[in-house]
Amino acid sequence: MNDDGLADPGSVADPRGQEIWTEVEWVVLEPVDRSAGAPEDTRAQRYVARCRGLAADPVMGETARIRTPSGRTLQGRVVDVNPGYHHGFGRPLPEWTRMRQGLRELIDGDQARTAEDPEP
């Protein structure tokens, strides 16, 4: 299951042998090779990259080669097969709802004052 709560459609290779949209990850720089200009907490970490492209028979956690949309070939560890986008809106916070209520009142006050002449 992925985080949409759906069965992951890409966990098995496409039976027709077609390439599959795949996300790979690779380590670009080990901590020791990182820029001296990076802050300490950042330099303690590896510098890692991810990219999406088409791969034949990708297997989660295994190495794969992808063909990227710009025409490059990249190699990395498969971290997602048929990767989606999972950003959204989240739940509204009560403080945000209160701010909206305050704005509503501000605007209603303006509308009442200008009911007869909507242009300033």
Binding site: D33, S70, E95, R113, P118
Partner: protein
């Protein structure tokens, strides 16, 4: 033994020369002196060319919208006779949803004309989508390198949305963890692909914004018969401020004040793995604008064509909470649901318009598209997930990375002025460090020009 990082960085000058097609060496004399107008003129495109190229690509000519209800509300909270008219240039109407299409249009036109097989850019912002969109229109491949995640693979939702949009428009997107090595990644990619470096900071990019300044003056003149009293430009790397100001001046507006506006993120380190996801704005903030203003040449081209000290008449900050307030006000009062960037300037407009006479016109230079990951709702939910407190009204002020306070009253939306003279002095100190000796006369003369520095200030150094 040098690392791969050091080896690539040592080749940076040659890589960048090959990837922009511009002769920066012909306009520089050492690390400080720059023939700025010479460099800007070296693109070979004049203002009429830029407008024609942009229009042919569906860029520019965006609506100028007067914010009637917001203007009335501001006046209701201002002293009698005060409360300038507020107008906004609806740059979200550009093909990829932001003013960044203006920057990309000329860059990609030039890249195609010079025969590059594709274009690359390092950006986590709307500029990536603009490059992808314009490259698609030219039949060129595009590649965006994006700083996207902290070391625990948590991604700022706004950045993830921008990656999605790049991929939707056909770009390859390389996403990295936090770090200044993004520039190194770009250099490697440029070397491997032979692509054009569609940097935000080339003369092509800044010239592309000049049309926005020209249109603003033309639109405001047609709608009000006046020059704008102030144009409010969200300020990050300096491109918007520089390009708009050059356009405003080219259009003959000599009475218009150019105001840079940034979200106050004081105290957060932009390169820090810990701080990365504790900000609710990914650009248009002081983490970029303050260092870029006082030392513009910290960029991915040999010299920066965006030089904001040359043009800034005023530089103010607003709080994160104030921008969320302005965003919701724009949606509820004007029926315009727009993204965060222009709303930074809109928040400042709510405060600055209250100081100006009713007859004056204040222009917010941009809107941008919004949606999943980009709205205040999404940003606030993420901020709380990251442990940032969100409060409503009350005594607490914004403490970047710790507390976001949503205003309860219009009066709580304020601007704080940053000290431009202090930034000018900081620029001189950085220049001295860069040359490692006392500045010579040519360098001093350039700093007076580039930082709009009072010559007597140099005697302090």
């Amino acid at each position: 033994m040098s690392s791969r990082y050091e080896e690539v960085m040592a080749r940076r000058a040659a890589i960048l020369r090959a990837a922009t097609g511009l002769d920066y060496d012909g306009f520089t004399d050492g690390p400080i002196v720059l023939d700025y107008e010479g460099l800007m003129g070296s693109t070979g495109y004049g203002p009429a060319d830029v407008r024609r190229i942009q229009r042919a690509r569906g860029v520019g000519g965006t609506p100028m919208l007067e914010l009637h209800a917001i203007t009335r509300i501001v006046r209701e909270h201002a002293a009698p006779g005060l409360g300038a008219r507020i107008l906004v240039k609806d740059e979200a109407a550009n093909p990829s949803g932001s003013f960044k299409d203006r920057r990309a249009a000329l860059s990609i036109h030039a890249a195609a004309a010079m025969g590059y097989p594709g274009v690359a850019a390092a950006t986590s912002g709307n500029y990536g989508a603009a490059v992808a969109s314009q490259a698609a229109r030219s039949g060129l491949r595009s590649l965006i390198v994006q700083e996207a995640y902290d070391s625990r693979w948590r991604g700022q939702p706004e950045i993830i949305e921008k990656a999605r949009k790049c991929e939707a428009l056909g770009a390859e997107v390389v996403q990295t963890t936090v770090g200044p090595e993004l520039f190194f990644m770009l250099l490697e990619v440029l070397e491997e692909t032979g692509f054009f470096n569609a940097s935000l900071y080339t003369p092509f990019s800044v010239q592309g914004i000049e049309t926005l300044g020209i249109e603003i003056v033309e639109d405001v003149l047609a709608m009000t018969g006046r020059q704008p009293a102030a144009v409010l430009a969200t300020h990050a790397g300096g491109g918007m401020v520089t390009g708009v100001a050059r356009g405003v001046r080219a259009a003959g507006a000599d009475q218009t004040q150019v105001v840079g506006v940034s979200v106050d993120l004081k105290g957060l380190h932009m390169g820090s793995d810990h701080d990365f996801n504790r900000k609710s704005f990914t650009t248009g903030h002081t983490g970029f604008s303050v260092p870029f203003t006082s030392w513009p040449d910290r960029v991915d081209v040999p010299r920066n064509a965006a030089r904001s000290l040359r043009y800034l008449d005023r530089f103010v900050t607003v709080s994160q909470g104030a921008v969320f307030y302005a965003t919701e006000l724009l949606a509820l009062a004007e029926g315009l649901e727009r993204g965060p960037a222009g709303n930074t300037s809109l928040a400042a407009a709510l405060a600055i318009a209250r100081e100006l006479p009713e007859d004056d016109v204040v222009v917010v230079t941009e809107t941008e598209y919004t949606g999943a990951g980009k709205t205040p709702w999404a940003q606030l939910a993420f901020a709380r997930e990251m442990g940032v407190r969100v409060e409503y009204g009350g005594p607490a002020a914004d403490v970047p990375g710790t507390v976001i306070t949503l205003p309860a009253e219009l009066e709580q939306v304020r601007v704080s002025d940053l000290d431009l003279d202090a930034m000018r002095r900081s620029y001189v100190r950085s220049a001295q460090r860069a040359v490692g000796r006392p500045l010579n006369d040519a360098e001093k003369a350039f700093l007076v020009e580039d930082a709009r520095l009072a010559p007597e200030v140099l005697a302090e150094f």
